[in-house]
């Protein structure tokens, strides 16, 4: 088991060294994203699945920014019209939110609707083992989230594409407004 940790730690330390000496902002974002991803794997192995999930989401966010930087100078998605840009952004954002909600329902309907929100209720906070219970609930949710690889994989890619397009449209909208 130590060898697995060693295999993950060596690239993290190497990339941390690269991060200090890197010059371009794009490469800084990319290296930081990869470090987050490696840490997410490490913490998944250490059974801190909630925190691993947070860092996976952060990795997705940084990927979106890197994607935006890559597409920024191309003519792939540029909206010249202000109103059109705003409409695109709002539409794509709503679509992403709907897709995330559908994803959650697909993973485990009962977990999301009944157990998860009932367990984390105000009455439980007054409990003696509230912190432990809260973390266990979050871990269960993260477990259910991570264990359905196929659904996660398919829907996450769709969400990521829509989010990337939404971010690009939004940034173009802000640029056109010259804020």
């Amino acid at each position: 088991m130590d060898i697995i940790y060693l295999i993950i730690y060596i690239p993290i330390i190497f990339l941390a060294g690269v991060l200090i000496f890197a010059q371009k902002p794009q490469s800084l974002i990319l290296v930081l994203g990869v470090i987050f991803f490696l840490f997410a794997i490490l913490w998944y192995l250490m059974l801190a699945k909630t925190i691993a999930l947070i860092f996976l989401l952060l990795y997705c966010l940084l990927s979106i920014f890197a994607l935006h930087k890559l597409i920024q100078n191309s003519t792939f998605y540029k909206t010249q019209d202000h109103v059109k840009g705003c409409k695109h952004w709002i539409g794509l954002f709503i679509l992403s939110v709907v897709l995330i909600f559908v994803e959650c329902l697909l993973i485990n309907k009962s977990l999301l609707a009944n157990e998860f929100f009932q367990k984390i209720s105000i009455s439980k906070i007054s409990d003696q083992n509230a912190i432990e219970g809260f973390i266990k609930d979050l871990s269960n949710f993260a477990n259910a989230f991570i264990n359905n690889y196929l659904i996660i994989g398919i829907v996450s890619v769709v969400i990521l594409i829509f989010n990337a397009l939404a971010v690009i449209a939004f940034i173009n909208f802000i640029k056109s407004k010259k804020l």
Binding site: Y5, I13, A16, T50, I51
Partner: protein, 89 residues
């Protein structure tokens, strides 16, 4: 020696080193600070894992939230400075 402690110590030292050698560049200082934070969070999670105690994870979770809020503040200060001076150095 324990591999986790050695790796976390080296990450922490790399972060400190980055802050000292890049003291002229604000963006690099922020990223070095990020490495420091990651090393500390990793320590919390490792000890939580090794002692089978969930409190470490809870501390790590709070620490992540505080660290990112702090980073947002630093980031906006950096933007204001860069707009006034037209550089990040």
């Amino acid at each position: 020696m324990n591999i986790h402690i050695v790796a976390n110590s080296s990450l922490f030292l790399i972060g400190l080193w980055g802050i000292f050698i890049n003291s002229q560049n604000l963006l690099k200082i922020i990223l070095s600070f990020q490495i420091l934070i990651l090393a500390v969070i990793n320590n919390f999670i490792y000890f939580a894992y090794s002692y089978q105690n969930f409190d470490g994870q809870m501390f790590a979770l709070f620490f992540i939230i505080f660290a990112f809020l702090e980073l947002i503040v630093i980031f906006f200060i950096t933007i204001i400075i860069s707009r006034q001076k037209h550089s990040l150095t």
